[in-house]
Subunit: 342 residues, 2 copies
DNA sequence: GGCCCTTGTCGAACCGGTAACCCATCGTTA
DNA sequence: TAACGATGGGTTACCGGTTCGACAAGGGCC
């Protein structure tokens, strides 16, 4: 194994000089720096991570805690995880993968041992148990999602309320009067994940403001449950002409069922999906959808932890942040003016 | 920060005794061990990861490199990643998330710096560029997937050939004569991922052996492409009575299209999906499917790296391993005896 | 010419564990 | 009874970086 001392010897300088050349924390003459870089290249030197962490008091690792349960849309979660990883690399950081089953102890473990300099928590619940640990140990952290009390924390999330509102607006603009909201399974609402409620509230309030009659039904996302949900909606409100779907899994079944029921999209019924663009593009007709930038969300989360890690190192109080990413509504082929009442 | 020396002082023993009590590498008297554990608990001691890595020459971290492109089924990939993480924890290891865009350099980076003790590579291609790096640096590794030349490597994967064969057998048993295989988009085949080819080969050979006429068509998985694929199949082989679908995304569209075309599943056409059980359960009718255990796959991969890490530490030559996990065919509601020829 | 400041480099003290080596005690065996 | 192995614990030299303080050389200023 090649060490910094080997490099120093080869370049004819002291170890500390090499260290400074690498970190740039002191000025090094052009000539010496060239010699050192030459030595590093020929010897194929890679600084030892453990030693660096020990001496520098920074592991250059952030932990990312991901959910285990399958109720969340996995590709969306993964996309955020990837974005976090890529963004972290740009800060010279690597990402440690933690699973939610470790719970608060996991956060404790990686933070107290200095394994990770900071933590990003996904799938934050309103009364998340991990939050107290962050406060108790002063762990630099960023949350993706909103807890009930975000004081003293940095949180980033999609602006679900606006997403819901955009749907209501679009349908109102098209002249629809009776609209239905097909949500997640009731487990998600019981879990108090927050995002489901926020979307629904945003939708309902705007719908009311625009004079729409709206209906909300939870849906597990299987074909059968979607069939049941749709049947109940049409029984309760036969005049429903538009559907907003938040449960990604229910989209395919819903389209099938509408078609099977003789309703053409968008002529007889409009459909808006709250889902990633790629998903919306896959269906036929291509779906008008509201999507939120996941890559930016991941980057933002990383920026937040980095700021907190720096603040922590300088024994400075970090700023609280609560950032909501605005969603975007893309009109495709699944929405059209409301059909004339017959 | 509480250090091992603090614990030692509190317990009235030397630092090394605490270290040995923790690692269990030497016998420690019951009494001393109790005092030490007491001290650890009251002081809330957590060993410093960096120091441990430096002194012990083990970071207790394995790197997991995941694919970036969206052609693979993301939930499946995620499930494996989670299984790896959980299994690693049981060995006292944590998992570092690397993305495929770092390529061979990423492997190099984490291995040479001692950040990770070993590496697990997912989405291995036949001519994977990362494999030479493993050989060159002698990085302890396990591959999920098979490269063209697995010599000197530990590989684990699903037994896709058998999965394909199981499909052919089941359909032959039910008396089908003309069967179609709906595969992945052509990009997957061009990428030489291996698994697509292996499934197809396994299917074709068994189909031939059982006297079936088989047809293979690639499919991108969108509604339109599935419609095109299905139309071509029925045009080329109007007598086709059974479909094997490997592309998870094509499943929903296929069922919709068959229904729309007036073919009832399974009375008029049988469908087998090669996909996770949860997915198969979601559709209507519930699908007969061939699935492979992802959790076990992840565990196996971890076992393999661990063995290689140990071998590496003892300067011992590890055994090459090539483990294929047998798939399982579960009969549900989407397959039935072939309809009588009219 | 003396003084001070800047720039570039070195020496050495850590950082917090690990493990090799040494030593004392005690029970066992020839 | 002397020799010996097993058991339990201490001493100390690392592991490979980071960083503070010291210091020499060179330039500008009075």
């Amino acid at each position: 194994m090649v060490t910094l001392v080997d490099v120093a010897r080869y370049a004819g300088v002291s170890a500390s000089t090499v260290s400074y050349a690498l970190s740039g924390k002191r000025s090094i003459s052009r000539k010496t720096r060239d010699r050192i870089e030459q030595a590093i290249a020929t010897l194929d030197y890679h600084p030892n991570a453990g030693a660096r962490a020990l001496a520098g008091k920074r592991s250059h690792i952030i932990a990312l805690m991901v959910p285990l349960h399958t109720e969340v849309h996995v590709p969306t979660m993964m996309e955020i995880a990837i974005a976090v990883t890529v963004a972290a690399r740009e800060h010279g950081y690597d990402v440690l993968l933690l699973t939610n089953d470790e719970g608060p102890d996991g956060v404790q473990r990686v933070a107290a041992s200095g394994l990770a300099d900071g933590v990003i928590l996904m799938d934050v619940r309103l009364d998340d148990e991990r939050v107290p640990v962050l406060h108790a140990r002063g762990v630099p952290a960023a949350l993706i999602g909103l807890p009930a009390d975000p004081a003293g924390l940095s949180c980033v999330d999609h602006d679900f309320a606006t997403a819901g509102a955009l749907c209501a607006d679009h349908l109102a603009d098209l002249g629809h009067r009776d609209v239905a909201f097909i949500g997640y399974g009731s487990a998600v609402y019981q879990r108090h994940a927050g995002y489901a409620e926020r979307t629904l509230t945003g939708f309902r309030e705007r719908a009311e403001a625009r004079g729409l009659r709206s209906l909300h039904r939870p849906c597990e996302g299987t074909y059968e449950s979607t069939a049941g949900t749709l049947a109940r909606i049409l029984a309760d409100r036969p005049d429903t002409t538009a559907f907003v779907v938040q449960n990604e899994r229910a989209i395919g079944p819903l389209l099938s069922l509408l078609r099977a029921g003789g309703r053409t999209v968008p002529e007889d019924a409009s459909v808006i999906a709250i889902c990633p663009d790629v998903l919306a593009e896959q269906h036929s007709p291509r779906l008008t959808s509201v999507s939120s930038p996941k890559k930016e969300l991941g980057q933002l989360a990383v920026d937040q932890v980095m700021a907190r890690i720096d603040a922590h190192a300088e024994a400075r109080d970090p700023e609280d942040r609560l950032l909501l990413m605005p969603p975007e509504l893309v009109v495709r082929e699944s929405t059209a003016p409301a059909p004339r009442r017959t």
